[in-house]
Symmetry: none
C-alpha cells in the first residue's frame, strides 16, 4: 500500500462514506462534506483517477476502485482504532474522540496500527458503534435493527429501506431521510406509537410507526 497525503486520504475517506448505498458520488456533495469548493474537488478527482484509486469521467460523478476501497478501509481502521483508544484508555468522552482521531488517523505506520490493535485487544466496534476493519479490511456487519425497535437516546445510521414504493420514497425524500442519514431517537409516544427522531442540524420531528418499521439502522 502506497503512501498518500493527508488531503488525499480525506478525499478517499469522504467518498467511501458518501458512496455507501448509491454507487456514484457528485462533485457538490463531496465539496460540501469536505468544506471545500467544487473546483478543488475536480482537481483532486483527476489526481486520484491518475493514481487509479477511483473511476471518474467528467460530469459523471465518481466511485472508488477496488484499490481505493482498500485504502479507505485502511484509513477507517486507523481512525476507529484511535477513537477506541481515546475513549477506552484516555477516558475521552465519546463526542470528543472524533476530532482528535481525524489527526491521528493520518499517521500511517502499519506496525503502529497493528500493535495498537493488539494492545487494545482487537476491538470490533468503535465508541460510536461503527465496526473496525481488521488488518485485511474485513469488518463485522454491525447489527441492523428496525428504527421502530431503536431505544430512545440511541443513535443509528440508516442502512436499509425495505418498502421501496413510490409513496414511501416520496415521504422519505420529504423528510430528508436517506441511506447513510444519521439520526437519534428522542422519544416514543405510546398513544399512536409515533417516534420522535432528530437528524443532524435539524429540529426533532415525528414519524409514524409504519414508516419506522420500514427503516433499518445500524448502531
Amino acid at each position: 500500500m502506497l503512501n498518500y497525503s493527508t488531503s488525499e486520504e480525506n478525499y478517499i475517506k469522504a467518498i467511501f462514506h458518501l458512496q455507501n448505498g448509491q454507487n456514484t458520488v457528485s462533485t457538490n456533495a463531496l465539496a460540501e462534506k469536505l468544506n471545500t469548493k467544487p473546483a478543488s474537488v475536480t482537481d483532486m478527482m483527476k489526481k486520484l483517477k491518475g493514481k487509479k484509486l477511483l473511476h471518474y469521467e467528467p460530469y459523471q460523478g465518481f466511485r472508488l476502485s477496488n484499490e481505493g476501497k482498500k485504502v479507505a478501509l485502511d484509513i477507517i481502521r486507523r481512525h476507529r482504532l484511535w477513537e477506541y483508544f481515546l475513549a477506552e484508555k484516555l477516558k475521552f468522552k465519546w463526542d470528543e474522540v472524533h476530532a482528535v482521531a481525524e489527526d491521528l488517523e493520518h499517521v500511517s505506520s502499519k506496525k503502529l496500527i497493528d500493535k495498537l490493535d493488539e494492545y487494545l485487544g482487537y476491538p470490533k466496534f468503535d465508541p460510536h458503534g461503527d465496526p473496525i476493519p481488521d488488518s485485511l479490511g474485513k469488518m463485522e456487519n454491525s447489527q441492523q435493527i428496525s428504527l421502530a425497535d431503536l431505544a430512545p437516546n440511541k443513535l443509528g445510521e440508516v442502512c436499509r429501506v425495505i418498502n421501496q414504493s413510490e409513496e414511501m420514497l416520496e415521504l422519505l425524500k420529504h423528510k430528508k431521510i436517506n441511506i447513510g442519514t444519521k439520526l437519534e431517537v428522542k422519544r416514543k409516544f405510546s398513544f399512536d406509537r409515533s417516534i420522535e427522531i432528530k437528524l443532524r442540524q435539524q429540529p426533532p420531528f415525528s414519524i409514524s410507526e409504519q414508516l419506522a418499521k420500514n427503516i433499518f439502522v445500524t448502531l
Copy 2:
C-alpha cells in the same frame, strides 16, 4: 500557544537541539540536520522570525526566542511521551520508537497530550533516557556524566544516549548496551583513547571514545 505546521515544528525542534551549548546555529548546520538545502533554511528563518520564534539577522546565524523555546519544549514533550507510550504500552523495541514518534509528535491537541501523560503515569524519562518536559516545559536533570568521563573502576548505569542515528543504535544493539545497563569502566588506553568496560556476566571489551562520548550514565 498557536498552531504551527509540521515543517515549522521540525525546524524549531532542530534548532533547539543544535543550539544546546553554543548560542547561535548556522544555516548549513540546520540544513544538514534536516536533510534540506541552505536556501530552504533561509526562507524558513525569515518566516519564523516574522512569527517571533527566533532571533535572526542575515549572515549572523539564529537562536530561538523565549517563545520559540517554549514551542520547542512542547514538541519535545509530545515526542518523548509518544516514545514512552510506544515502548511501554505497545512493546516497540527502543530503537524503533523514534521514527514513529516523529509523526505522532505533530498531532498537537493539548488535551490529548495531557491525558496521555496522565495515562502513562507522568513519566520523567523516555526510553532513551531523555527527560520529558511537563506541561509547563520543566524537566528533571539527572546527574549524568559521559561514559568517556567516567573514571576507571567506577560503576555507572546507562541513562541516556545522545546520538540516535541508525548506525549508533545498530552498534549499541550489537554490544548489548541499553538504557538501564549497568557497567564498570576497567581501563582507559591513551593510545587511541579507547575504553575497556565490563557488563554483568560478560568478559570486558573495548569501545571507542567516539561511542563513549555519546553514552551517558548515572553514578
